[in-house]
Amino acid sequence: MEIQELKRIAAQRRADAVTMITRAKTGHTGGAMSCLDVLTCLFYDTLRPGDHFLLSKGHSVEGYWAILADKGYFPREMLREFSQAGSPLIGHPNCRVNGVEMSTGALGHGLPIGVGAALAAKRRGTGHRVFVVMGDGEQAEGSVWEAAMAGANYHLDNLFAIVDRNGLQISGGTEDVMALDSLSDKWRAFGWEVTEIDGNDMEQVKAYFHLAAEGGKPHCLMARTVKGKGLPFAENRAEWHHKVPTQEQLLEAYQALGVKGVDWA
């Protein structure tokens, strides 16, 4: 898909996500925005039939729901139900929703699952690839590194671990809460092929997934992003981890994103 079209779609999905959060008065605004360019590229350009996608940073679910609705997995009008009583569109990915393979949200779970799926695909020669999106705060979970070891041990070059490196977590900066850097060096030391890009630059994101090739090593994409990306009032501010926009801020967001609004609300 053309870059301009991917950018247009990402802006519209950001508008969907921020509208869902504003309506529901709950959600994880900052992280949903930071990883949305990666999610958009994956779902509209990269993923092939049989590939697996795992949103390990499950709290960033709003953009994922918006993408699945737009892709036709369920009616767009269902986005109105986000976080409402009895709805399957809860605040984390839910495998009871069409299009979602695994319920995630307990941090540190996605990559071990991804290693299993990638290993089975590789041994059986199905050609399926696995894409796991993790948070940077999530990197403090020990199970991430158990899986990092296993991914390299089994030479899973069909496995992509994407770190949404927005530098912020709920309590503040990642380097203040639990120092991660040099995070790329850690992944390299575990035997992964590491690439750093601007994860909010669609050209770089698309180019990365197009060029990534098999080579005996699993892939780690260190996607440097901006938490709250696209929302002027929320960018790079830790308190927007799960702060909810006002109606005025929602309109401000539409303007900044260059969209008229959403057609389902």
């Binding site: 319920s103 070891m149 296993a150």
Partner: protein
């Protein structure tokens, strides 16, 4: 005498030879699980995860995304506790075709001590929705259970012991998940046991019969889904005694009590391991210390009948 784990792995190898979608995972535990033959014969269906139980259970769930039925096997103490969250979320909450096989459960590891004992596993696992929980009583039943697990398509936790155990079942080994087996029927009391406590419970019945007391013995091999009808039938004797290699909190006894106190209040006694740092010794010595023996069960019945 045969170890339950051995019967499990022998059956698993034979099933996996025929069905290439059956895979086994281990955490540097292929020897202790007795999966060495499986790993040698079917290397493409075997996954070594290293000493990383959380990763192993997550990987087991991940394999199922490609159509695999996963048997993830290692010490019960680590699988039911350290990776409890992966069992809860990745296996049960996500309805994956994963069997979590906890071997050397209970106090099988004997004098290795509390780090290696799994005596809270049933309490933890049976509180997880959509997860079946089994404790096979002997090798034959383990074989039948393994065949069931390979075909069920459902998530399950299985606790097995370590050492060889006497035969409870002969050639005729009825096994239906969720349906307890009445091994003996008596009018004076009923003993409900699970796992490797079933044999001592049967021995207790023989001792008591010699003393003029006739008891029912029920093998509750499935803790979840629980056979409530069998528990209510046991209550008809007027005295229900449960016996398990597990903490007296939250296990078979608690499960039976939950049924009886709500549906048919009945005099009960829960035999198991006390809520304390356990006495140290071989499994047999620990059982003797806490009265988890044929004589201990018999005495508990006699006291209950007074």
């Amino acid at each position: 005498m045969k170890a339950v784990r051995k019967a499990f792995t022998e059956t698993l190898v034979s099933l996996a030879r025929e069905n290439k979608n059956i895979w086994a995972l281990a955490t540097d535990s292929r020897g202790s699980v007795t999966l060495t033959d499986f790993a040698r014969e079917l290397p493409e269906q075997f996954v070594e995860c290293g000493i990383a139980e959380q990763d192993a259970v997550g990987m087991a769930a991940g394999l199922t995304l490609e159509g695999i039925t996963s048997f993830v096997c290692g010490p019960a103490s680590f699988y039911a506790a350290r990776s409890a969250e992966q069992v809860k979320v990745d296996v049960a909450y996500c309805h994956r075709d994963v069997k979590v096989i906890g071997v050397s459960g209970g106090v099988s590891y004997g004098a290795l001590g509390g780090t290696h004992h799994a005596v809270q596993d049933v309490a933890l696992m049976r509180a997880i929705p959509d997860l079946e929980v089994f404790l096979p009583a002997d090798a034959r039943q383990a074989e039948a259970l393994t065949r069931y697990l390979a075909a069920s398509g459902k998530p399950a936790y299985v606790r097995m012991g370590r050492g060889p155990v006497p035969e409870v079942y002969g050639e005729d080994c009825p096994f239906e998940a969720g349906k307890a087996n009445f091994l003996r029927r008596g009018k004076d009391a009923a003993v409900i046991a699970c796992g490797e406590m079933v044999y001592p419970a049967l021995e207790a019945a023989r001792l008591l019969s010699g003393r003029g007391i006739e008891i029912s013995v029920i093998d509750m091999h499935t803790i979840k889904p629980l056979d409530e009808q069998a528990i209510l039938a046991a209550a008809e004797t007027g005295l229900v005694i449960t016996c398990e290699e597990h903490s007296v909190h939250g296990g078979l006894g608690a499960a039976a009590a939950e049924v009886l106190c709500q549906k048919r209040p009945t005099k009960m006694r829960i035999l198991g391991l006390p809520d304390e740092t356990l006495y140290s010794g071989t499994a047999a010595e620990v059982f003797a210390h806490y009265g988890l023996t044929a004589e201990g069960v018999a005495q508990a019945v006699e006291e209950g009948l007074k």
